[in-house]
């Protein structure tokens, strides 16, 4: 520090410790509460130290769930969350990588149109197009059938070369419906574009002289060079995917497709009775665990991802 003022350093530590106390308090309360029996949490003040029901609470949530609210075990919900988070993260990275590659490394008609189409998705978060997106998920071919209707063709079947194609495919209650609409990401595409622009042109030229075509160059040179960026983005996107709430709420009615983050509200919003807080808190701990573990375990990648996606 600039000058030596011991009391200032002590003060800094004090403020930080107090601040961390405020930030960590909810976690502490949650953790402690999840180790108690339900009746311990029915009278105020609730205990602030661990109880002895930890194993019972967690094993009940993982194996059978909460009896009076659909009773889905959390194992299944967490698996759904995992599938959703992984599909979104991997899917976004994959399609953004190739899209950014096309935009940066090729000249072709309508290049800028494509760029702006992708750019525009930045301005259309799911929250502002809830209903019409839901309609598309209810029937993926909605845009096509509506366009056909404009051209005077009614109905949801199209006959091409003798084959009748059913244009009524619902993605409700499916992993595709959960993930596909969230998979297009302008942010990831821009991040990769930004990174590709910093890759020296000479590498591309050397690869061309070495006989590598575009896809070979992409696989052998560009992809390995993007490793750190991919990993950093994966951390951010995994958290983004795991924490989705509104979208799973809309497209899943079948409890077997519920994700854990969205499933917890059913345990909290129970009519007329006090929620079983010990179990809700155990479920919350389980729902927080994977993304928090990733942030703490991959702190450097996480910070890099966070900073770069905002450029």
């Amino acid at each position: 520090m600039v000058e030596n003022r011991p009391w200032l350093t002590v003060f800094s530590h004090l403020v930080l410790i107090l601040g961390i106390g405020v930030v960590v308090l909810p976690l502490w309360v949650t953790l402690v509460s999840s180790t108690h029996a339900g009746e311990d949490l029915l009278r105020s003040p609730i205990p602030m130290w661990f109880g002895n029901q930890m194993f019972e609470n967690y094993s009940q949530m993982l194996s059978s769930g909460m009896k009076h609210v659909s009773g889905q075990p959390l194992t299944g919900m967490m698996l759904n969350s995992l599938i959703m988070a992984l599909s979104i993260a991997i899917g976004k990275i994959a399609i953004s990588l190739i899209a950014a590659f096309a935009i940066c490394y090729f000249r072709f008609p309508f290049r800028m149109t494509c760029f702006w189409l992708i750019f525009i998705t930045l301005m259309l978060p799911v929250e502002v197009r809830i209903l019409p997106t839901y309609e598309v998920i209810a029937n993926v071919f909605t845009p096509l059938t509506k366009l056909l209707a404009l051209l005077g063709y009614e109905g949801t079947d199209v006959v091409i070369a003798g084959f009748s194609i059913d244009l009524d495919v619902s993605m409700l209650d499916s992993y595709a419906g959960l993930t596909l609409p969230l998979i297009a990401s302008a942010t990831a595409t821009f991040l990769f574009r930004q990174f590709f622009l910093t890759v020296p042109d000479e590498l591309t030229e050397a690869a061309r002289i070495d006989g590598a075509g575009p896809m070979k160059f992409f696989r052998d040179i560009l992809l390995p060079l993007s490793r750190t960026n991919i990993a950093a983005l994966f951390v951010i996107l995994f958290i983004f995917g795991w924490n989705q709430y509104l979208w799973p709420l809309l497209v899943t009615t079948d409890p077997s497709y519920a994700t854990v983050v969205m499933g917890i509200q059913r345990m909290v919003n129970v009519a007329d009775i006090e929620p079983q807080w010990n179990l809700v808190m155990a479920a919350s701990m389980l729902a927080m665990l994977p993304p928090v573990a990733i942030v703490i375990g991959m702190q450097r990648l996480f910070v890099k991802g966070l900073v770069e996606t905002e450029k």
């Binding site: 961390i20 019409p132 709430y245 983050v261």
Partner: protein
């Protein structure tokens, strides 16, 4: 915009762009255009006929006291979230920037709430403020004599979601503030110290003005966050209540569309939200462009 060295290929670039464009067109552009289209239509009571009504839906919207109240709630909510989270994070970042020992540990302990889902964050604070058993409600009652009840008191409910939403955003703000502080040249602060400025004075006359680009950027990000990413926080806890006290615009568009099934009205609300996102995005990009010039 493009590399100096490019490949030549007739169809490959289109094939590479196809997945992203297809998803963008089907799940982004089409729904958005539908929202625009439906916002100028109105269905009759039985959903049998639709008629073009021009801007009637919007006119109705902005004369609807419930919608206007929702607008107010959203603005109060966003400003409160941004203010609370930013000031808390700035204070911690300034302190963390001062110390050398234990900085990494502090950082680790401060960044994890970023990973907590907004809905879960809501549930945690909902429990802590639970009027019957919540530890915070108990402290308020026994120490301050305040009877906290977010199920009946609108202000309490709004405060609850403000705290839950701001808490989750502290990590993000802290990281960006810390990075901003560490980017300020040491020599400037040393020069100020030699000029006789006290640490407190240095902060307000040197550090804070130099940090203003970061602050401005974070203000926009926090407002976008409070507008659009807090649906889960509200839906998992107060559900817009009591009496609309936490009925933000995004919560309302969901509620009217899905529960109320008012197609035209919901579409008009979507369009209003789109205008807000576009404005905020443009502001943010203007700012980024300016930052590049520095």
């Amino acid at each position: 915009m493009i590399k100096r060295v490019t490949f030549r290929h007739k169809w490959l670039p289109y094939a590479l762009l196809a997945p992203q464009l297809l998803i963008t067109l089907i799940f982004f552009i089409w729904p958005a255009s539908q929202a625009l289209y439906q916002s100028v239509l109105q269905q009759d009571a039985f959903g049998l006929r639709t008629a073009f009504v021009g801007l009637d839906n919007f006119a109705y919207l902005f004369s609807d006291p419930i919608y206007l109240e929702s607008f107010d709630v959203t603005i109060v909510f966003s400003v409160a979230v941004a203010l609370l989270s930013l000031s808390f994070a700035l204070m911690l970042a300034v302190m963390a920037d001062r110390i050398i020992k234990g900085a990494t540990t502090y950082k680790t302990l401060l960044i994890w709430p970023y990973a907590v889902a907004p809905a879960i964050a809501g549930v945690l604070w909902y429990f802590m403020f639970n009027p019957a058993v919540g530890i915070n409600a108990w402290i308020l009652r026994t120490v301050f004599g305040y009877d906290w009840n977010h199920t009946l008191n609108g202000t309490d409910a709004l405060l609850l979601i403000v705290i839950a939403a701001a808490w989750k955003q502290i990590s993000y703000n802290f990281l960006f503030f810390l990075a901003g502080l560490q980017a300020i040249p040491r020599s400037l602060i040393e020069a100020a110290a030699i000029d006789g400025a006290s640490p407190f004075k240095r902060f307000w006359t040197i550090i804070f003005p130099l940090l203003s680009p970061t602050t401005f950027f974070l203000v926009v990000v926090n407002i976008v966050y409070a507008f659009f990413d807090t649906f889960g926080t509200i839906h998992a806890t107060t559900r817009g209540g009591p009496a609309g006290a936490t009925n933000t615009l995004v919560y309302k568009v969901f509620n009217d569309g899905f529960i109320g099934l008012d197609l035209g009205g919901s579409a008009a609300q979507s369009v209003v939200l789109m205008v807000i996102v576009v404005t905020l995005t443009v502001v943010q990009f203007r700012y980024i462009e300016r930052r590049v010039e520095y």
